[in-house]
């Protein structure tokens, strides 16, 4: 036993030490920072630092931009999750169909956007969404739709970014759903078909319940992902127009690294953490209910 123990600790300690150092320690520090008024004055002189208790949090609650960032982030999640999950499901169903040839090829091509760099593809999409020269408005023009000011109209900016995000990430859940679809019990499906059930009825009563837990889990995990959107607004819209694409993380980045208000930024980080914690608890409840946790 002790020999095993010694080896085990030898194997485990290095990475645990790193996790402690770059993860646990800073997270605790974040909590500490969020109750101070660390700002650029403190960078100059430690003596200017003051303990403000919940001051940062109350300040945030009265900062309109913070609420707008929360609203934008919620909108991203609300619109984005159905878009992303729906697209992934549709793609998975399409690929799952027995009559499709060369499945591996399509799977790879449909998955490819997921592994590309956000920055590079955000640049490409910014060009695609250009009001005057973009391909998207050209395509819309072919079917008679007037050009949309995708990245300049505050009402269109979130859908525009969501188009990009959906394109980028749908491949991931497509694979997950493909595996789930493959696990749908065959005999049940056969029985339904023999009973004369239509395609749609089969989908609703056999497929959907079987992949339901996977769908739910994927949806919950997607929400967590959408809550952390940053790179896309950073590259494509600089948080605009009219701050319509400023997300919680973008707000935190600006506050923390642009203006050096680390106290307030840590408060934002803490709030983000609480939101994701709540989400994970929901995820755990669902998981326990469907017994795959």
């Amino acid at each position: 036993m002790t020999r095993q123990e010694r080896t085990a600790w030898g194997f485990v300690l290095p990475v645990l030490a790193i996790i402690l150092f770059v993860f646990a320690l800073p997270t605790v520090l974040a909590l500490a920072l969020s109750v101070t008024d660390y700002s650029i004055y403190a960078l100059a002189d430690w003596g200017a630092l003051r303990f403000v208790g919940l001051g940062n949090f109350t300040d945030l609650l009265t900062t309109p931009l913070f609420w707008r960032a929360l609203g934008n982030t919620a909108l991203f999640a609300l619109l984005g999750v159905p878009m992303a999950i729906g697209t992934s499901l549709a793609a998975a169903l399409l690929l799952h169909d027995a009559s499709v040839r060369w499945k591996p090829l399509w799977r790879v091509l449909l998955f490819a956007p997921y592994v590309t760099s956000v920055v590079a593809t955000a640049v490409v999409w910014r060009f695609l969404l250009n009001t005057r020269f973009g391909l998207l408005n050209r395509a819309l023009g072919w079917i008679g739709v007037p050009p949309v000011d995708w990245l300049g109209d505050p009402h269109a900016s979130i859908p525009a970014i969501l188009l990009f995000v959906t394109w980028k990430i749908f491949g991931y859940n497509m694979i997950v759903f493909t595996a789930a679809l493959a696990a749908v019990p065959h005999d049940l499906m056969e029985a339904a078909r023999l009973d004369g059930a239509s395609r749609w009825t089969r989908f609703r009563h056999v497929t959907l319940p079987a992949i339901g837990p996977t769908l739910l889990l994927a949806a919950v995990m997607s929400v967590a992902g959408f809550l952390q959107i940053f790179a896309e607004p950073y590259v494509m819209t600089l948080g605009g127009p009219a701050q319509s694409t400023t997300t919680v993380l973008y707000f935190m980045f600006d506050e923390g690294f642009k203006w050096w208000n680390l106290g307030q930024a840590s408060a934002v980080a803490f709030i983000l953490f609480l939101m994701i914690l709540a989400l994970t608890l929901v995820q755990a409840r669902i998981g326990r209910r469907y017994e795959w946790l």
């Binding site: 008024d37 700002s39 650029i40 004055y41 960078l43 200017a48 600089l238 127009p241 009219a242 690294f257």
Partner: protein, 424 residues
């Protein structure tokens, strides 16, 4: 006696020469070592892109190589602060005047001790100071805002030159719009604060009060400026666009998408370079209009600073001296269009072009901006609120209240420090 003395003298002389030779060799060795490590220079945008052109002359004269890094304006503030926090600031870097106070406060800058660097400046240009009033930056270039206009488009609407007061200027815009309803009269990008603050500066309104610890945006003069600014958009004389949407403003200017383009001197160079798209005869410059005639305008004045932690301060100051000499500043004017801060440079024929006359006049009459840490952020946030007014999301009076509230909030820490006497 004399022989021995001569001998001793000779020995002493030779000893001295050996010491001298050794120290020269040591100095030479140090010089060789310094030669291997280049001095680092960071500059924004065009200054960064073109500074390498001026380095060969400097390296030839001093033997010191220089490495230039360009920072994009949109990320410069955070990159510089991060570098300061991580103690990796370059030896010499460019700062717009509005940031000098901030960086001096956090101990990033070395004070300017060589007064020769601060003499001979163009009247109206002065060195940016830190919190204790000491100069921390050497003025390098000035870029006051003027308006570039399409002479042909204005002539067609019946104007030889743009009017100099707001109401007439707006009427000109209306006439231009009437002739070309699909195009616009002016281009004022919604995420840049320069035009709004130009208008505000001309009214004489001071943006802050009480020793720069509270916002003063409810001043009726600022209200006038904001109302004028918003009216230009409301009457569709300017497109409500961000810089990310109008990707090539020069091409748009050439195509007549808008007729008047308030901008700084670097546009002169862009236009000369793209003369094929827009011949020089078709455009000219004029001072920005004021409420009743041209007034004070602030420009983005840029300065050069030396890092407080630079390991080669002497070499760094030498580089600053080189870059702010009249000859170098004239070279920059030729390459990128920014205007020299040294008076001597203005006496040369290069700067007597008619297109630059408006700038020269404007430079003599600059506004003084608050030199506080939060100024950059205040401008950006005020412009954001102004953008919301333009987009119809907020009324003007509500916006002014919001601006004051926001600015008061941003200045809270400063107020606390001023009240306890820790800040001037």
């Amino acid at each position: 006696m004399t022989g021995g003395g001569k001998l001793a003298g000779a020995a002493a002389w030779s000893r001295r020469s050996v010491v001298a030779a050794l120290s020269m060799a040591a100095a030479g060795g140090c010089a060789v070592q310094n030669m291997r490590d280049p001095i680092s220079l960071w500059a924004m945008s065009y200054e960064g892109d073109y500074s390498p052109m001026l380095m060969p002359a400097f390296t030839r004269a001093t033997g010191l190589p220089v490495e230039v890094q360009t920072l994009p304006w949109t990320a410069a503030h955070e990159k510089l602060l991060t570098a300061r926090a991580g103690d990796s600031l370059p030896d010499v870097f460019m700062l717009p005047d509005g940031w000098v106070g901030e960086f001096a406060l956090i101990g990033a800058l070395a004070p300017v001790t060589d007064s020769a660097l601060l003499t001979g400046l163009f009247p109206g240009v002065s060195a940016a100071t830190g919190p204790n009033g000491q100069p921390y930056a050497v003025p390098w270039s000035v870029a006051p805002q003027v308006q570039y206009y399409r002479r042909d488009l204005l002539e067609r609407a019946g104007y030889a030159a743009p009017p100099e007061d707001w109401d007439s200027w707006r009427r000109m815009g209306q006439r231009l719009k009437a002739r070309a309803p699909d195009d616009y009269a002016f281009l004022m990008l919604l995420n840049w604060w320069d035009t709004l603050f130009t208008f505000a500066g001309q009214t004489g309104a001071r943006p802050l009060r009480e020793r720069d610890t509270r916002g003063n945006f409810r001043d009726p003069r600022f209200r006038d400026a904001l109302a004028f600014y918003v009216s230009l958009f409301r009457e569709r004389l300017a497109p409500p666009a961000l810089s990310t949407e109008v990707q090539d403003p020069v091409a748009a200017f050439a195509q007549g998408y808008f007729a008047v383009y308030p901008y700084g001197p670097t546009l002169t160079l862009d236009l000369h370079r793209r003369a094929a798209e827009l011949p020089p005869a078709l455009w000219s410059t004029a001072r920005m209009p004021g409420p009743e005639g041209p007034g004070q305008v602030s420009g983005i004045a840029a300065s050069l600073c030396v890092s407080a932690r630079s390991r080669r301060p002497a070499a760094a100051w030498a580089l600053v001296r080189h870059l702010t000499s009249p000859a170098s500043e004239l070279t920059y004017q030729r390459l990128i269009g920014t205007l020299p801060a040294r008076a001597a440079a203005w006496d040369t024929p290069q700067l007597r072009q008619p297109a630059l006359a408006a700038f020269a006049e404007q430079m003599r009459d600059p506004t003084r901006e608050p030199m506080i840490v939060e100024w950059e952020r205040i401008r950006i946030e005020v412009q954001l609120i102004a953008e919301r007014v333009v987009r119809g999301q907020l009324g003007i009076d509500a916006a002014l209240v919001a601006m004051d509230d926001r600015v008061d909030r941003l200045l809270a820490k400063r107020r606390a420090l001023v009240e306890t006497g820790q800040l001037a």
